[in-house]
């Protein structure tokens, strides 16, 4: 028995060695901070003392209008950007994947540039375009004889502009993933669809959308987490303004953690809330998939 266990251990040793570093790093840099963040969210450390305050930091968040606006804005980002990415990802990929290779590669490369260029660079480019004092917007306004409009300062519409900007920054990744998935679909299925008289719409409905479901799940999970954490675009374009109208949970977390009115306990509570909301959204997606499978 003992010899068998030892043999098994020897056999699995290489696997443990491969997994080991990841487990250690994951525990150190992901699991521990999550755990620590939760603990911190129950304390107030602002006045040179660590005082247990229970759920007070969470109450502070839920009783603060700015925090509630930030939660609403973050959810709005997720609720709009993620579906847009999935819809346009499938649409663009479905429209190009069966075209000539050079064309497909060209479109993918163009759309992927914003992903490679990093959010900081892309945000600065957008600032150059939209700045009402020295940007392209001003140039065109002057060309048309209009007064310069600061499109980044509208309390109602600026957030929708940011949603569009975030969409343009992430769509390339979705198109690359969907196109790769669609290229792996057997040609027989596509041919069968055509022979049966199916049009482009039928191909989307009966072949492309169902067969790229795994990519959709992956995109949903990764983009939900990514969009929920949106920070750089906000920081570089609006700094959460005007008057907090584009402030997100991540931006507010940063403000609580490193801003003028520091409160690490509230920042940690905000982090925990972000974690919980992301988890709920992703879990809901899995529940939906399971129900769908059970119904089939």
């Amino acid at each position: 028995m003992k010899a068998m266990t030892e043999r098994k251990l020897r056999e699995n040793l290489s696997a443990y060695l491969f997994v080991g570093p990841f487990v250690v790093l994951c525990a150190l840099f992901i699991i521990y901070p999550i755990f620590r963040g939760f603990i911190n969210s129950l304390y107030n450390t602002k006045w040179r003392a660590t005082v247990y305050v229970g759920l007070q930091n969470y109450k502070t968040i839920f009783s603060n209008a700015t925090s509630m606006l930030a939660i609403k804005n973050s959810l709005l980002f997720v609720a709009t950007v993620v579906p847009l990415l999935i819809i346009f990802g499938i649409w663009i990929s479905g429209s190009i994947f069966d075209k000539r290779r050079l064309y497909v590669s060209g479109v993918r490369a163009v759309l992927y540039i914003p992903v490679i260029a990093s959010m900081v660079v892309m945000s600065i480019i957008w600032r150059f375009i939209l700045d009402s004092q020295s940007g392209l917007v001003r140039y065109f306004c002057m060309l048309l004889g209009l007064k310069p409009v600061n499109v980044l300062a509208d309390p109602t519409y600026t957030i929708y502009l940011l949603i569009f900007i975030l969409f343009t920054m992430n769509i390339g990744q979705c198109v690359v993933l969907y196109t790769a998935d669609m290229l792996s679909i057997p040609n027989d299925l596509l041919e069968a669809c055509r022979i049966d008289g199916g049009g482009r719409l039928d191909m989307f409905r009966y072949i492309l959308i169902p067969l790229t479901k795994n990519t959709t799940i992956f995109t949903f999970i990764t983009q939900t987490a990514s969009v929920f954490k949106v920070f750089i675009v906000i920081q570089l374009l609006t700094r959460g303004g005007p008057n907090y109208k584009t402030t997100t949970m991540m931006y507010l977390l940063y403000e609580y953690a490193f801003g003028n009115n520091i409160n690490t306990g509230v920042a940690s509570a905000m982090g925990v809330l972000m974690f919980v909301i992301s988890l709920v959204l992703i879990t809901l997606r899995f529940v939906f998939i399971r129900r769908e499978k059970e119904a089939m």
Binding site: Q133, R138, N150, A153, P155, T238, P242, N243, Y244
Partner: protein, 443 residues
């Protein structure tokens, strides 16, 4: 008699030795490394020389100071990160108004005794500015009046010669009527059709928001009253904000006030994209230095006070930053002791203290008196125009987080100026109450 004199002399010597020995006792007898963090708007070489000289003087004891100089815009993030990670430096050289909140949080050491030997040489206003509940937490290193800079070359080209002072060191004192009725419109006309603009206003973040406070007070309104924010209750502050908005609407300022940061305004001015800009004396010094060494565009840089109308009479105002040194309570006794020793050493005088003070307006009478720079007396004669932009309220820095969103709300039309300022005052007063209640130095 001789015996008595000998006895007194001996006793005095013994007491002196005892005092000296006690001072020595408090210093660590092993090598200690400390950090000096600063956001001083000063040539880094000046600070580095002071640090190098101290390290050389204390080489036998093994005390080493390492300089970390960063931009003021990074200060809050760096210090807050250090608080959380328990990595605060032993020494912080910064503006008093940015440090006062840390004093209330118990993060700054009382250095009243350390300053005592130089107390008489410090200007009273400088010393008093850094005192909370009768204890001094910072020793002033230099002062920096906060007003306006203007490009005299552009003024001449625009036909505004009469507003340029004859003496290049003199601060201009324009009236509000001259400023908004002639200077700004003339500059706007001069820049017409380009991306350039007369003067920058900014509310993108709280960088250089003292400039905004100057304008908000320019019609005689009181930003602070009885230790509370008064902006929302003062008609003159509301009227001042309305005036700022009207300037922007009439094309007298940049059009992107809501998204423009204070840190973006001065590069525009230095690149000749605006005619007037917020500026403090230490910026003036470093900009002139940059022009002298050829690293920035050359132009005729002048200073002006902020035009104001108070009680119906034309006047001018200025804010004043006291930049100083403090010892942080980072919980490490050895580092605190060496930090205090560094200050004690620096305050003994000499070229390092002189160089730092002469970066702008000296905090020490002796250094100011010895200064040969004609800009110093030309500046200090405006001292009567200084107003207290912080109101001395606990938590002032924290209240700043709510000022620029209020300005944004008013500018974007999301709220009326009155409502925006009332909301700002409510937020600010909640913070002040929190600080008063929890302050570790007030109780």
């Amino acid at each position: 008699m001789k015996k008595l004199l000998a006895l007194i002399l001996t006793l005095s010597l013994l007491m002196g030795m005892a005092v000296f020995a006690r001072a020595e006792e408090t210093l660590p007898d092993h090598p200690v490394d400390i950090e000096l963090w600063t956001d001083f708007t000063i040539d880094e070489a000046i600070m580095q020389k002071a640090v190098d000289d101290f390290n050389a003087a204390y080489a036998d004891k093994g005390y080493t100071v390492t300089l970390n100089k960063f931009a003021g815009s990074q200060r809050t993030t760096l210090i807050n990160g250090a608080i959380e990670n328990d990595t605060l430096p032993a020494l912080l050289f910064s503006a008093w108004f940015t440090t006062a909140d840390y004093v209330h949080q118990g993060l700054v050491e009382d250095i009243t005794d350390l300053i005592a030997p130089v107390r008489d040489d410090l200007y009273d206003a400088v010393y008093d500015a850094c005192v909370i509940a009768d204890k001094a937490y910072m020793v002033g290193m230099y002062q920096s009046y906060f007003g306006l800079a203007y490009n005299a070359d552009i003024f001449r080209e625009a036909g505004l010669d009469k507003y340029i002072t004859e003496d290049a060191n003199e601060w201009a004192r324009w009236t509000m009527a001259e400023f908004e009725g002639d200077i700004l419109p003339t500059l706007a006309k001069y820049f017409e059709g380009s991306e350039k603009y007369p003067i920058a206003l900014f509310a993108g973040d709280n960088q250089a928001d003292t400039f905004t406070l100057n304008w908000l007070s320019s019609l005689g309104g009181q930003m602070w009253k009885d230790g509370k924010s008064n902006a929302g209750a003062d008609e003159n502050v509301i009227a001042a904000l309305e005036k700022m908005i009207s300037w922007t609407e009439n094309g007298l300022t940049n059009s992107d006030v809501i998204t423009r940061s204070g840190t973006e305004a001065s590069p525009d001015f230095r690149n000749l994209n605006s005619g007037v800009c917020s500026c403090q004396v230490s910026n003036h010094t470093s900009w002139l230095n940059a022009m002298a060494n050829g690293s920035s565009t050359q132009f005729d840089l002048r200073m002006a006070t902020v035009p104001a109308v108070i009680n119906g009479e034309d006047t001018n105002i200025l804010a004043n930053y006291v930049y100083g040194a403090c010892v942080m309570n980072n919980g490490k006794a050895d580092q605190i002791a060496v930090g205090k020793e560094f200050l004690r050493w620096l305050l003994q005088g000499g070229e390092n203290l002189d160089a730092i003070n002469n970066n702008a307006i000296p905090c020490f009478r002796s250094i100011a008196d010895a200064s040969t720079d004609p800009f110093v007396p030309a500046t200090t004669k405006n001292a009567d125009l200084i107003w207290d932009f912080t109101g001395g309220v606990p938590g002032y820095v924290a209240t700043r987080s709510h000022l620029f969103p209020a300005i944004q709300a008013a500018y974007s039309g999301d709220k009326t100026p009155a409502q925006a300022l009332a909301d700002y005052s409510a937020e600010a007063n909640a913070i002040i109450e929190e600080y008063v209640e929890n302050s570790l130095v007030l109780h």
